[in-house]
């Protein structure tokens, strides 16, 4: 279907509640009244088989006097994004919850509540999600009257943790847990070794990136902060941001820049998947394979340092293209490295496939059925390991992927092992893509010059990161910076299925099951508690600490 036929079908939906506002390129924006929202979402889900991506809360009081909530859906088969916009009166900012239709909307609605102050009605779990525990109520950081460097006074806001069912005891994972590189707090309820329930308190890494992006930094500075949303797939984020702005402003970037972005994205996938493979082995105590796969990975880091000047945060993405060209001998240097990686990976994979103890740990752990995968709108290798055939590189083509030939790797095993296999196959696909892209690399400019960016245009862009589809929503603003910038990382949706994954598993399965999602909390969080310490816990005040440090010195 083309965007036109989709628009036609939507406007003829029962009750004619969906009012098409705008169509540009692959994005269709429709306006829906708050009362009709749930019906519209149901229509999209049932009749158009839409996939819920995320919702964006916007403080549009200066433009139209309203708070806006944009729910973004993807029609994967039609290569189209559908945005349902709802205008809300600031005095009565409530929106009906769509969690009954898409469980994935759970966190999105809570985030909009925390950051903008739009309450979801009928939400099953309306606890605080994003903001720190000591953040006051009624202060909403993403409203435009909140200044980015305000530090509201400490006001203890107790986030009630769920209590375990009778007979079960608590097993805390986190906030600092060896297998999770990042702070997150998962409270498992266990009976002996068996997990009977869990509670989650994340967002320890909430750094307020979106706020900085739309109030402090300029258009060309945001790629730098976007790259630091995640240290592993940073280039994905800066590319997604740049593409979203380029879409909103109608900028065409040179062919060569598209190809170089593709090359860097695929290099990132290679190192990220190797990294994950190593970590997954580390989770189950197999440190030798951890060391070996990181050894194989290291040349990629040297390669990116040679291409871009930095090992991880490349810092070469700009709106309109790139700031650095590939070095002249890039092809000659990249090919031997990736070929050697492929050869070594195959060796390791051979070993893994014959290896009983690895299969014993991975097979049957962290089961995610196709139905659950679809309902919870998971993405990336997590979805593809459960037989859900989605990939933003094919469904929403970007960079140079439309010109390249690759296979979307799908496995039907639905467990951690299937997700491992998806990633291993993607590794060789990535190397194939790198070969193609470098062979076809056109000559020419690497950036177009940009005059000015017109305000109040929305751009949505999706990029397939190693962990799944990253999507950014940018609403262009007036003072050389976005008015609203929303980042949706793949782990945001994927993390919400942890309770499903751990159903019926044992404690020993928990790290690898969670790990098999390749969770990235810093991406997700951009932005009560079990006492591990025996004996009394004292909280130092700043003065006490200063005194202590002086004594030490």
């Amino acid at each position: 279907m083309t965007v036109l036929t989709i628009a036609d079908q939507l406007s003829k939906a029962p009750g004619e509640k969906i009012c098409i506002e705008r169509m540009d390129g692959d994005t269709l924006v429709a306006n829906v009244k708050g009362v009709d929202l749930v019906d519209a979402v149901r229509y999209l889900r049932d009749q158009m088989s839409a996939r819920f991506m995320y919702s964006v809360g916007e403080d549009a009081r200066q433009q139209n006097g309203c708070f806006d909530v944009n729910q973004v859906f993807s029609l994967d088969h039609d290569k189209t994004f559908v945005v349902l916009r709802t205008d809300l009166d600031p005095a009565d900012a409530n929106i009906p919850s769509s969690t009954s239709l898409f469980p994935a909307a759970n966190w999105h609605e809570r985030e909009v509540r925390d950051l903008i102050g739009i309450r979801p009605l009928g939400h099953p779990d309306p606890r605080r999600l994003v903001l720190p525990d000591d953040f006051p109520e009624d202060v909403y950081p993403l409203r435009h009257d909140f200044h980015y460097d305000e530090h509201p006074p400490i006001e203890v806001h107790k986030v009630e943790l769920k209590t375990p069912p009778r007979g079960a005891s608590l097993f805390p994972i986190g906030p600092f847990y060896p297998t999770l590189e990042e702070p997150v707090f998962i409270n498992l309820f266990v009976e002996g070794e068996h997990i009977v329930g869990m509670d989650y308190r994340g967002f320890y890494a909430h750094r307020g990136i979106e706020k900085l992006g739309d109030s402090k930094l300029t258009y060309q500075q945001v790629p730098q902060i976007a790259e630091r949303i995640c240290g592993i797939c940073g280039f994905v984020h800066s590319t997604t941001y740049c593409q979203a702005v380029e879409k909103a402003a109608g900028i065409e970037i040179p062919e060569r820049a598209r190809y170089i972005r593709t090359i860097l994205l695929e290099l990132e996938r290679v190192h990220s998947h190797l990294l994950w493979l190593g970590l997954a082995c580390h989770f189950i105590g197999f440190d030798t394979l951890f060391m070996q796969s990181w050894r194989i990975r290291e040349p990629v880091m040297w390669l990116t340092e040679y291409i871009t000047g930095n090992r991880k945060t490349y810092g070469i993405n700009r709106i309109g293209g790139l700031t650095r060209d590939l070095p002249a001998d890039a092809k000659e240097r990249i090919f031997p490295v990736i070929d050697r990686i492929e050869q070594q990976v195959m060796q390791v994979v051979d070993a893994i496939l014959q290896d009983g103890s690895l299969a014993a740990r991975l097979q049957g752990s962290g089961i995610l059925t196709l139905e659950d995968a679809r309902d919870y709108c998971v993405i990336g290798p997590t979805a593809r390991g459960s037989g859900l055939d989605i990939d933003a590189r094919r469904d929403h083509p970007f960079a140079a992927y439309a010109d390249l030939d690759f296979e979307v790797c799908v496995e039907n095993g639905c467990d951690s092992w299937a997700r491992t296999m998806v990633r291993i196959r993607e590794l060789s696909e990535a190397i194939k893509l790198l070969h193609q892209a470098l062979d076809k690399l056109p000559q020419g400019e690497i950036a177009t010059s940009i005059d000015s960016i017109a305000p109040h245009n929305a751009g949505i862009s999706a990029v397939e990161a190693p962990r799944g589809e990253v999507s950014h929503y940018v609403m262009t603003g007036t003072d050389q910076r976005p008015l609203r910038w929303r980042v949706r990382a793949p782990s945001y949706n994927n993390l919400q299925i942890i309770p499903v994954l751990l159903r019926g598993m044992t404690i020993a399965d928990a790290p690898i099951s969670i790990g098999s999602l390749d969770p990235c909390f810093s991406c997700t969080e951009r932005m009560g508690v079990i006492d591990k310490v025996t004996g009394a816990v004292r909280i130092y005040t700043r003065d006490e600490l200063l005194r202590m440090s002086q004594q030490k010195g």
Binding site: P183, K216, G231, I232, W294, E298
Partner: protein, 151 residues
């Protein structure tokens, strides 16, 4: 005598506990990278341990978000003396790119006494090795404050 012996042992056997105080993962991955074959930090007796109880050094990354502050203090307390606090990355050093955001506290020194800062975004594994070696007094410091005044 005993003291010299303990000091020698301490310097030859630093067990580090890695704390992510809201970092982007970049530094964390580089810290792990330091363990892996090309950099092999075990040469210096440095090991990554998984509980603060066993740790001699806290390797903290990230700008210290508001939510993480309290837990960080508890971890500091759970680590027994003698201990080192090492700030890894530009975020932990001075707050990084989000030093003035509402959700961060702008660097580790606002919360804990820091023994050594290893700036970098992320610091390369070599830089982390160098920093830890510097904290142990094995290698010299290579940077100093620069002040230029026009004559």
């Amino acid at each position: 005598m005993t003291n010299t012996l303990f000091n020698w042992c301490f310097k030859k056997s630093i067990w580090v506990y890695h704390v992510n105080a809201g970092s982007c993962n970049g530094c964390d991955i580089e810290i792990l990278d330091v363990l892996t074959p090309y950099y092999d930090v075990e040469r210096f007796g440095i090991r990554l341990v998984h509980t603060p109880r066993h740790a001699d050094a806290l390797l903290v990354t990230g700008p210290v978000t508001r939510q993480v502050r309290e837990r960080l203090l508890r971890l500091y307390e759970a680590t027994h003396d003698p201990k080192l606090v090492i700030a890894v990355g530009s975020c932990a050093t001075c707050g990084g790119i989000w030093h003035d955001s509402y959700a961060t506290l702008g660097g580790l020194s606002t919360v804990l006494p820091v023994n050594i800062y290893i700036p970098g975004c992320p610091p390369r594994p070599e830089a982390i090795l160098y920093g830890v070696a510097e904290a142990l007094g094995l290698v010299p410091k290579k940077v100093t404050e620069q002040v230029f005044v026009e004559a």
